[in-house]
Subunit: 554 residues, 2 copies
């Protein structure tokens, strides 16, 4: 009889940045690592969020022993409120303390299974999920309490890096636990799955501490108020602003509700310290000299509803830019956000602020390992098999190239994409199949009802608009009654193009006025009207609006 | 009587990257510098191109003495085919040889005033346009034959940099003429207008020669075929590929019609040399070993119809990726193109190519001056007034900061935006007004008929689609006949949402069935149906489709 094999199936995050989700299966035991969302790309018109397709899991839901979450970012926890109701079983969710807090906030926001079975697990402690024995290890990332995962399986040890970088002087929490990884390396690791997000970047990612020095010098030298924009989950950054402000006797006010919530929770759970009591409400700053004030806010990605963007648009009810303000973007642009960020920067400049963006002064470092760190981990863990995770295909392939450059044989490096089923034995690894995967769109209240047809229609409508034609037909004679009505949206300016639209109404009249002596055949009329108008409009405008004839019998 | 003043009015290019156009006016003499287009931004749904609004010029068209073009890039010449017919006068167009050739190609493509009055003017020679005396000076840029402009006016000398960088070892043409600039500096320059496109970048832009070395090493070491993607106007880059290929006994084939046309013209005009005869047609490469082949192609920006993108999609009729191919993106992404470029890179990797992109190997340098070069020009020209040109507001402001850092008084630095009217005297410079400016959209055949209403409709349609409701009303009684028909596009999946759509039809019936005893008032019915459906759909889906009721009397 064939020995049972270990299956590894990425359902998200391999082939795109975001919606990370990994399935691990051995006989009747399944564990899931992460359940993230992705923000829509440009062509996903009107879509709010994208989550993984879990068809594969729905068929085996009774085998699921638990969900393990590596850290509290949206691309690792954001799909939980949508997927838990789909799974519809009481599956425990394991994570560290802060991550667990963020998950419970998220679940409450969406009112999804408010009493989910959240289990807080400290690093180093082992717990069993079916046949799997699990252990968290500390990693440094751009949010506190991030972990990687060690999975003891019947076939050997598997290491999942989570999102990480190597930072020997992190601002909050512990450095990535290289000692534990080295220990595992000497024991023998069957498979390493490691974060590829920044596999394009040569060298080392600088320490978060560097940012502290840069922020310190900006806050020391700024002639007026300083506004620092960053991610609300980047607690260590907020800590560094608080520390620098304290040093220069400035007070700090957090602007925007979402960041205020995170700061409150982080203070309570001990991830953030305000020993000097510099944090203040906005109204407490009244009367302070401008060079004694710092604001921290969201909006570093140009999010339209964020405080910073509303300030830039002179649309914030409490805060306006004053000449002499310094605005610091302490974040790098998430790909795709560049245009809106730049629009915000332009507006801030126009109002007289000096703006530090694109990291001119090292006011930001990112949270993922660069090439030398990735090579270091490969060297220390010495896995038999290696699988790059988290990234578009190019990131995975470049990470695979790195693995080969440090000596792993090409056939032991497995570049998978979402839905690939990898089967592992202690000696061999092979992609043996493909399961359904892909994007599930969340648009408003619905999950998954938007498919390619709706998106294709939205795309067509966005390009050349729509033309609606109302045709009245005499019930008895089948002949056209009067002239058809034509209404357009998004096609042409109806006033400026009145003549052309009028001409097209006449064209429809002529097309249908062929002395029909049989009752009108709707299919025929429909096609004829579409053809005639399509050709005429294209010839006149080189545009192809969606054309909709309606026939009414009178 | 007040002395006549010099007016300077940017109609494009100050506040955005692209559609560069500058007007200079003294009494009854007007000259225009550049007439470029801009490619549409994300929110400009369905728009093909954007050109400047020349309302200001149309009122004074008989004063226009000439159009001066600094170089042959689209953002400097691309609006000519659209603006010349609008101006409808025989205005001479002055430029250097290659630029003139590219303009005439462009005008022929669009069949716009094929017999435009193109005048070729070498650098250093002076010519008069009304009161203005003009002289071109050499600049280095990412296209041969680029120039800056010296304008002798009754008030003093004005220098317009064009697009430039300082490269002491350019591959084609001459270095930027610093000697002439220094000469002018000692004579006294009233106003310097200088390129801000890369004012964000610290340091110096590397020489084009650096790229030659990088390309040489890639071509020397590549185990198989090399595919170099770049801009078709980047002649010096194509020259460097030809030179490197010759060195390693490779043949070079140009793939794609637009690049083939440019290469042919450049060979004819002497801007490109193939002394070793390495250029070959695609079919001449048959039988050559793979490591003797280089292709040069467009598609570095992920343009959907380019050869490279079709190759990446396995959609090219002659060329497919073979494992072992090396693809080099010898170009940096134009902002906004990142996503499509990355999609292309991912596809190329998936097919087994090694891909060099994001300049890992210095296979690209850009064509604009970085901060130290900008400071050098400011120092050499020593203008009384300075006006940063070519860039979004942030670029202009950063360039202004640089000018201040080298000692120009803040009040002599003029950060203008499109449409601002600057009035200059020898002693003072002031923004005295604003003229109509902004974006004119080209969509298909029409120029300017698309306005904000059409774009707003396209945006709405792209988000949540459209719902059309056909309501039949009895002509006599004013009562509803039958159930209304509802058709949707881009809103929901009509099959999956059949129940909801049915319910909404009933809702319309109920809303209109209030025992009307007066004839139907269409305005009332229209609003009522919209309100009822809007609320119902939002409650059911959290989406807001465009709702279109049609009433037909039967």
């Amino acid at each position: 009889m064939a020995k049972p094999r270990l299956k590894i199936i990425p359902l998200g995050g391999l082939g795109e940045i975001g919606k990370n989700m990994m399935v691990m299966e051995y006989e009747n035991d399944i564990i899931i690592i992460d359940a993230g969302l992705m923000f829509p790309e440009e062509e996903m018109f009107g879509v709010d969020l994208v989550i993984p397709d879990i068809t594969y899991l729905l068929e085996k839901r009774e085998h699921i022993r638990g969900i393990i979450i590596t850290h509290g970012h949206e691309d690792h926890i954001g799909a939980l409120p949508y997927l838990l109701p789909q799974l519809d079983i009481d599956v425990p969710i394991y994570s560290t303390k802060l991550t667990s807090g963020l998950i419970s906030v998220k679940l409450k926001e969406r009112r999804a299974r408010a009493k989910a079975d959240l289990k807080v697990m400290p690093t180093g402690e082992k717990f069993n999920l079916g046949i799997f024995r699990i252990e968290f290890f500390t990693v440094t990332h751009s949010i506190p309490d991030a972990v990687g995962i060690i999975i003891h399986t019947p076939l050997g040890i598997i290491v999942h890096s989570g999102d990480f970088k190597i930072d020997y002087t992190p601002v909050s929490g512990q450095p990535t636990d290289m000692a534990r990884l080295a220990q595992l390396g000497t024991q023998g690791v069957l498979l390493l799955m490691s974060d590829s997000t920044y596999a394009e970047l040569p060298g080392y990612t600088p320490s978060e501490k560097v940012v502290g020095e840069a922020l310190d010098s900006v806050i020391a030298q700024a002639p007026g108020r300083v506004i620092v924009a960053t991610f609300s989950s980047l607690i260590s950054r907020i800590q560094q602003v608080i520390d620098a402000a304290a040093k220069y006797q400035r007070r700090v006010s957090i602007v925007g509700r979402s960041m205020q919530d995170t700061v409150r929770m982080s203070l309570e759970l001990g991830y953030l310290n305000d020993t000097d009591g510099v944090l203040a409400r906005l109204d407490e700053l009244r009367g302070l000299p401008r060079n004694k004030i710092v604001f921290v806010t969201t909006g570093s990605q140009g999010e339209p509803t964020s405080a910073l963007v509303r300030i830039a648009n002179r649309d914030h009810h409490q805060l306006h830019i004053i000449r002499g303000d310094t605005v610091v973007f302490s974040a790098s642009p998430i790909p795709g956000n560049e245009a809106v960020i730049h629009r915000t920067v332009n507006s801030l400049f126009k109002q007289g602020a000096q703006v530090l963006y694109r990291g001119q002064e090292q006011v930001h470092v990112h949270g993922h390992a660069s090439q030398e760190e990735l090579k270091l981990v490969l060297n220390v863990v010495k896995p038999k098999f290696f699988m790059p995770i988290h990234g578009e295909y190019r990131h995975l392939q470049l990470h695979a190239n790195l693995a080969q450059s440090v000596g792993l044989p090409g056939e032991n490096i497995l570049v998978l994409e979402d839905g690939d089923i990898l089967e592992l034995s202690p000696q061999a690894a092979k992609i043996t199949g493909k399961t359904s995967c892909g994007n599930v769109y969340v648009d408003g209240l619905s999950v998954g009802d938007i498919g390619s047809v709706v998106l294709r229609d939205r795309k067509m409508l966005s390009r050349d608009g729509i033309v609606m034609v109302i045709i009245a037909i005499n019930r008895q004679s089948g002949k056209l009654v009067g002239r058809p009505d034509i209404v357009t949206r998004g096609f042409v300016d109806s006033r400026e193009s009145k003549e052309m639209l009028d001409a097209s109404r006449d064209l429809v009249v002529r097309a249908l006025d062929h002395g029909n002596d049989r009752p009108a055949d709707w299919g025929f009329i429909n096609n004829k009207v579409r053809d005639v108008l399509n050709n005429f409009y294209y010839e006149q405008t080189k545009r192809r609006p969606m054309i909709f004839p309606f026939m009414v019998k009178v």
